[in-house]
């Protein structure tokens, strides 16, 4: 494996992804990520000069909606899975 992921990197990525990994999981994640980067390196060997960057996998563009209200009051469905609700709002830990 050419790419070695440091403990700091896996720690940082964990924070960004809000993941708490134990020692064993961290080692596994380091290995997985290293292998992914190796694969990217392999892709980078290709000469892509002159190739238009792809912005989407499907050759489709301009899929639009007209500006018309099609949805009604969705609060019951929206709140159905709320772990905690108060009146018609989700309750979350105090956040400023």
């Amino acid at each position: 494996m050419a790419n070695i992921i440091s403990d700091e990197t896996i720690e940082y990525v964990g924070i960004l992804a809000k993941l708490e990994l134990d020692g064993q999981e961290k080692e596994q994640a380091k290995k997985d990520m290293g292998e992914m980067l190796d694969y990217i390196d392999q892709l980078n060997e290709l000469d892509t000069s002159g190739v238009e960057p792809m912005s989407h996998v499907f050759p489709v563009n301009n899929v639009f909606r007209e500006d018309e209200v099609t949805n009604g009051d969705g609060r019951d469905a929206t709140l159905e899975n709320a772990p905690e609700r108060k009146e018609d709002a989700f309750v979350v830990p105090k956040t400023i």
Binding site: L16, S55, V60, N61, V63, D67, A89, V92, T95
Partner: protein, 477 residues
């Protein structure tokens, strides 16, 4: 004493005036019951797919054209990743790599008469977040996703501003353009226009920029000016005392006139942007662009010329009225009803401006109907009420959109036009004030003023002044 220069750039978020959200058919109406305007798309339910509202693209292009930007004819969306309770998807769909508009600028006029161009770096489309409602005493916050997915454009300026005055002039101009286009109502108080101020200071003559901070939570022009002043002072104090300005986001508290750090560089934002896979690219053809260009509404300069030629109102009047889309709209609608453009203009420039100032309101907040102003103007025109009564009635129209005809009726404010009754009143006043009568007859023509005053008092201000003068003149002959 070292001289410092303030360098300011703005990020302005504007909620677009679409009927529906950017990626789903939920209503954008302001003030609905919490979570009543939500669906799986705008609450980030797994498996839901966004579909772009075409009107959002058209408004963004319209604003870009009106601010002299180059339109990115091949543009796309990107995903900005972060965790926050008001963001149910854990990412915001925005544009980083190919924003819809770039490299524009608008000209502002300063108080000293100078003109300056403020560059616009880019304008991109994105979705708004939900709203957190904080319980002052409780342990929790509550989340309302009605605003989640409301379309925004973010207008990023170049760091071209050097003072609070320039910032306000820029925002004012931007707001006017967007309101004229109908792309947003741009109400700072309601948050449909929000400005974040990026500010740094440097010694005059320095080439490098200083370290900048970003200030949030500015919801009036006055707050913006106060925050700029305070932040400039804070940064200069740090530099003068040998400390360093820290790059951070600060939140302005306008009551305390103080800002505090929200997040600093230690938890620097790493948004891990990547192309949004759920949306296909937007290709804007020359033809589409031309259609939007052809549909652009009349902007201020054209309106100003038209007002002068069509309504024959003076340059000065046209300038004041067209400075605010709202005033211009009221002017046109009222004039269409009463056909007295100069009278309408007088009410707008005089009493309306005076009351706006007195109540510290913005023209956008005017809520009276053109019908009522037109009725008032016609009442005066028909001499049914006199000018001082009209001003009193106008305050009611301004404040509570009162119907002037009904108000005048209910409060018995109609001008006393009954010749007989008025004549009797004046005869009585003349007989009670022999001294004034004598003074008048002895050449002190001013004495008539006192008698007019007494008459107005006796009729509770309802007499027609022209008629009073006429009758008095007859009686005093």
């Amino acid at each position: 004493m070292r001289q410092y220069e303030t360098v300011i750039g703005l990020e302005v978020h504007v909620e677009l005036a679409t009927k529906t959200k950017i990626f789903c058919g939920c209503s954008t109406e302001f003030g609905g019951e919490p979570n009543s305007h939500t669906c799986p798309v705008c609450t980030g339910m797994p498996g839901s797919l966004p579909v772009l509202n075409k009107q959002v693209v058209e408004y963004a292009i319209a604003v870009g054209l009106a601010t002299n930007c180059t339109i990115t004819q091949n543009c796309k969306f990107d995903r900005k990743n972060y965790f926050y309770p008001d963001n149910p998807q854990n990412y915001q769909i925005s544009q980083l790599y190919l924003p819809i508009c770039r490299d524009g600028g608008i000209e502002i006029a300063l108080e000293n008469g100078e003109k300056k161009t403020i560059g616009i770096h880019e304008i991109h489309m994105e979705e708004d977040a939900g709203k957190l409602i904080h319980d002052e005493w409780g342990e929790n916050s509550m989340v309302d996703f009605n605003r989640s997915g409301v379309p925004l454009i973010e207008i990023v300026s170049e760091p071209d501003m050097r003072s609070g005055e320039e910032v306000v002039a820029y925002l004012d101009k931007l707001r006017m353009i967007i309101q004229y286009l109908g792309a947003s109502d741009c109400k700072l108080q309601e948050g449909s226009m929000r400005a974040d101020v990026n500010l740094s200071v440097r010694e005059v003559g320095a080439e490098e920029f200083g370290t900048r901070t970003e200030m949030k939570n500015l919801n009036s022009f006055k707050a913006i000016q106060r925050a700029i002043e305070a932040e400039r002072e804070r940064q200069i104090d740090l530099i003068e005392s040998g400390e360093k300005v820290v790059q951070e986001t600060r939140r302005w508290d306008d009551n305390k006139e103080y800002s505090y750090a929200m997040r600093s560089k230690e938890d620097a934002q790493d948004y891990r942007y990547f192309p949004e896979p759920d949306l296909v690219p937007v290709v804007i053809s020359d033809q589409w662009l031309q259609e939007i260009r052809d549909r652009q509404p009349e902007l201020r300069a054209e309106k100003l010329e038209r007002y002068k030629s069509e309504f024959k109102i003076p340059d000065y009047d046209a300038g004041i009225i067209t400075a605010h889309k709202k005033l211009a709209d009221i002017f046109e609608e009222t004039t269409a009803i009463c056909h007295l453009p100069k009278k309408v203009s007088n009410w707008l420039m005089g009493e309306t401006m005076r009351l706006l100032k007195e109540h510290e309101m913005e023209a956008e907040e005017l809520s009276f109907s053109p019908e009522n102003l037109a009725k008032l103007i016609l009442l005066v025109e028909d001499r049914a009420i006199n000018n001082s009564v009209a001003k009193e009635v106008f305050e009611k129209i301004f404040g509570e959109n009162a119907d002037p005809e009904r108000y005048v009726e209910e409060h018995g404010l109609k001008t006393v036009a009954d010749d007989g009754a008025l004549r009797a009143t004046i005869e009585k006043i003349v007989s009670e004030n022999p001294q004034s009568v004598e003074d008048y007859r002895n050449g002190k023509k001013k004495a008539i003023g006192f008698l007019v005053g007494q008459t107005m008092k006796a009729t509770q201000g309802k007499a027609d002044p022209g008629m009073v003068n006429q009758i008095l003149a007859e009686l005093l002959q």
